[in-house]
Symmetry: C2
Subunit: 273 residues, 2 copies
């Protein structure tokens, strides 16, 4: 049994969609969430910069005595997982490996679609991981950058006619390729899940947050590091952000599904320090 | 006559749409452009953070011996113009005042639309400036946040059916209010000019970059600070960015209209230093 908190970091508020699943599966745990809102998004930054920021975020969480670090950001998971693992004294889980394993287990025809930001898709991180985990099976990966999904999700245009038209256009190559499994490779995309599903009705959608939470739960269980179950779970979460945008409470609630208290501010100078 | 360079800063590459007009009107000048690409966008950051970053950018330009500073970013112009003016030893021009004066001179029915990010429209900076410059005339301001225009412009979807549908939806309140003059209050929007014009055909669109360039030219002329005209103008521009995204050359060319050399990298630690 281990009552130390679990640390989660993301480039902004999107990672709350991952935290949501963690809390769902492990309500007895304590969490420290760090959103680097002052430097969001990571997707348009160089790999060197993303590695540097990710190391700073992980160090911040380690200073908060976490027992496990989750990189909720797809870009950071794609670009900086190895570096963060090397630098950290606790286990680190990114969102890519768990999604890839779930997608490989799910697909019947071996055609997996990967939706993501231009940076995530361009990094080929999902393709490389799928090849590594395919176990000799022939898997075809169809990557599709969906850069307009983030602003559409943040606007709350989750089922707007323009969103439907854009989703249909983005899904065309996946429908053409007969992808039967599609990874929602960006923390914002689960908000658009229903509209994406409508645009590719026969595919199974994989939400990385869900599978990441299950992987972390299994890791903690197998090392006897889960916190003890309490009778009435009341999850303790501390939120840190590097900047507090005016829209934080509304946007955060969209991702998390419940109200978020005022987050604590940590300056990027403190993070870098 | 003054051959010192003109300094321009922006939260990213969008300000190149302002630089384009400066170069057009004053090709004999030398320019130093600073794009804070590591911290873009400013629009979702708190006013305190935007002021801090803007002061850092302005100081960097002053260290490069500029004779005039132009804040090309609408958010920074809205939030930090006064602070940057107080802190700088050279004249500072934002993009809001020149656009407002042009719009007031242009409108016949006194109804001005202002398109911008949620932050710019929410700041009411345009409305306040319009009231200050209206000279007793009754002007109605219709603010319209267009948060999807930036990603659409960066995607190059300038005349895509989804962009047309979104532009029509955004323009509806302006068409209803019979706005005859519309300010493109974000550096990215001039890229969508034709599609925006189609959605509100009878209005005159105001491009802040154009009017800012004219204002700066007049300020330099009236203080005898223009560089001497050379027979064959070959504009010298030095580009600094705080991060180099892989898409920089393509995106920069879209805004500037001509090829951009590899920019020089300045770290945000140096800026903050």
């Amino acid at each position: 049994m281990n009552t130390q908190p679990i640390g989660v970091f993301d480039s902004g508020v999107g990672g709350l969609s991952v935290l949501r699943h963690l809390v769902h599966f492990m309500p007895q745990e304590e969490y420290v969430y760090l959103g680097d809102t002052a430097r969001v998004p990571y997707g348009n930054k160089s790999p060197e910069t993303v590695v540097q920021y990710s190391l700073q975020c992980a160090r911040f969480l380690e200073l908060h005595n976490v027992k496990h670090i989750i990189i909720a950001c797809n870009t950071a998971s794609a670009v900086a997982l190895r570096e963060v693992r090397s630098a950290s004294s606790v286990p680190v889980t990114g969102v890519i490996e768990p999604s890839v394993q779930a997608a490989i287990a799910q697909t019947r025809n071996g055609r997996i679609g990967v939706l993501g930001t231009r940076a995530t898709v361009g990094s080929n991180a999902y393709t490389k991981h799928i090849e590594q985990h395919a176990d000799g099976r022939r898997i075809e990966v169809i990557g599709q950058p969906c850069p307009l999904f983030v602003p559409l999700a943040e606007e709350g245009w989750v089922a707007h006619p323009a969103t439907r038209a854009i989703a249909e256009e983005y899904m065309k190559p996946l429908v053409m390729a007969d992808a039967d499994t599609v990874i929602l490779g960006c923390t914002h995309y689960p908000l658009l899940r229903a509209t994406i599903q409508d645009a590719i009705p026969t595919a199974t959608l994989i939400d990385p947050g869900e599978h990441t939470a299950l992987t972390v739960q299994e890791t903690l269980r197998s090392t006897d590091a889960l916190a003890p179950l309490r009778e009435i779970p009341s999850t303790r979460i501390t939120y840190y952000v590097t900047d507090i945008p005016a829209t934080f409470p509304q946007v955060a609630k969209q991702f998390l599904g419940f109200d978020v208290p005022q987050p604590r501010l940590v300056s990027i100078e403190q993070l870098a320090g």
